[in-house]
């Protein structure tokens, strides 16, 4: 695998590479190089399977991170390709030409994060949310609690307890007081 990484490194300059496990590697590449590297890995190195495509919202850095997770059935290695894109003008090339099923991921990302994939089939169709009018809900600046209070009628009388404290008070009182039973913290 290191050999392969070196080989890719010679081809293009990638920004970072992480070895998480023996069978899980991540590399970060530039947005423009994605298509090149995906087609290379798929056609020449046997990474024929796109396991998933997902996004992470880095609100503080004003960036989305897209992860394209590829899998190689011969050497049984996962390779994640990370790409950072701008959060304001979130747009990314569509990869439905490489893996036909990726349109579904792109449709979901379009709905949940508002990332555009020009040319991807049916990308505008709603996936889970029908008739959504707010900003895409998985963006971190979307306040779900506020939206829920505003939209769905809250039933009054809801209360929460700190589980650890509550269980100590209610359930394990007997045990907490009894000297015979050893607890973990003593």
């Amino acid at each position: 695998m290191e050999y392969l990484l070196n080989k890719i490194k010679k081809m293009i300059k990638f920004e970072a590479s992480i070895k998480q496990r023996d069978d899980l590697y991540f590399i970060t590449v530039k947005k423009e190089q994605l298509e090149l590297i995906l087609s290379y890995l798929r056609d020449n190195e046997g990474f024929t399977h796109l396991a998933f495509l997902q996004a992470v919202d880095y609100l503080e850095d004003n960036k989305f991170q897209l992860t394209y997770m590829l899998y190689n059935y011969d050497i049984k290695v996962n390779l994640g390709i990370k790409v950072y894109i701008d959060r304001e003008k979130a747009e990314m090339v569509s990869i439905h030409k490489f893996w036909a099923h990726s349109w579904q991921y792109q449709r979901e990302l379009h709905e949940m994060y508002g990332i555009n994939f020009p040319g991807s089939p049916r990308v505008e169709e709603s996936f889970v949310l029908e008739g959504w009018e707010e900003i895409p809900p998985m963006r971190r600046d979307f306040n779900t609690l506020e939206y829920s209070i505003k939209t769905y009628y809250q039933r009054p009388g809801r209360s929460t307890n700190d589980p650890a404290k509550y269980m100590k008070e209610k359930m394990y009182k007997k045990y907490a007081e009894s000297p015979k039973i050893r607890r973990d913290n003593d």
Binding site: G131, W132, E133, S148, R155
Partner: protein, 213 residues
């Protein structure tokens, strides 16, 4: 009141079906639901007795709580002992079991199926999600109180309620039916505008008839 006024009122009483495209409106009914008054006392009592003994539930599980319907149906808890049996379509069933959280997409189907069920019909809502949102109370996509969208006869609390709790709930429902308290259908017809207002507030792309039956 002359004839013109009556016509005007009749027109207002009709449902607009605004969500449908213009040329499809004629295909759907525009009549509002009406309340059904009980028959004479003895006959109604007998009917209620009979209704309570044959509950047909529609097989539409909406949330994780619907998982508990499977053990309930099958041999371990065996709900057919209680005269309860599943049906595949809303037209043939009388009890709607809402199995937990209902997302907006689901509530649209729930409303549609509920309206298609023939009366008298009853609703059992299980799980804390239907009562106050449960652990999804702050979700952008699930409703918090089911009784704002369809009338609910019995709530079964728990996350998720065990089949024993469901059986208790069904027994409670039977008692209620026998005493004639389950008037959910009439409640729906009486407060039709209020229910519709609540439903339309969350279902933004309303592309079905206003009352489907």
């Amino acid at each position: 009141m002359d004839k013109k006024d009556i016509k005007e009122i009749e027109k207002q009483m009709k449902l607009a079906n605004e969500g449908l495209p213009e040329k499809e409106r004629i295909l759907f009914s525009d009549v509002r639901p009406t309340t059904v008054a009980p028959l004479n006392k003895y006959l109604e009592n007998f009917l209620n007795w009979a209704r309570a003994r044959s509950l047909w539930i529609i097989g539409y599980g909406t949330g994780c709580g619907a998982m508990e319907l499977r053990p309930l149906m099958t041999s371990r808890f065996d709900m057919s002992r209680f005269g309860i049996a599943p049906r595949p379509t809303p037209r043939q069933s009388s009890v709607f079991v809402i199995g937990g959280y209902a997302s907006i997409k689901t509530i649209k189907r729930i409303v549609r199926s509920y309206e298609q069920m023939q009366g008298p019909k009853f609703v059992i809502a299980l799980g804390s999600c239907t009562i106050n949102g449960g652990m999804y109370y702050d979700s952008y996509n699930t409703i918090n109180r089911l009784d704002y969208y369809i009338p609910v006869d019995i709530y079964i609390a728990g996350c998720m309620p065990r089949p024993e709790a469901l059986i208790a709930g069904f027994n409670k429902l039977k008692e209620k039916i026998q005493t004639g308290e389950c008037e959910g259908m009439n409640k729906y017809a009486e407060n039709f505008d209020w229910y519709k207002k609540n439903q339309k507030q969350i279902i933004k792309d309303w592309n079905m008839p206003d009352y489907n039956w």
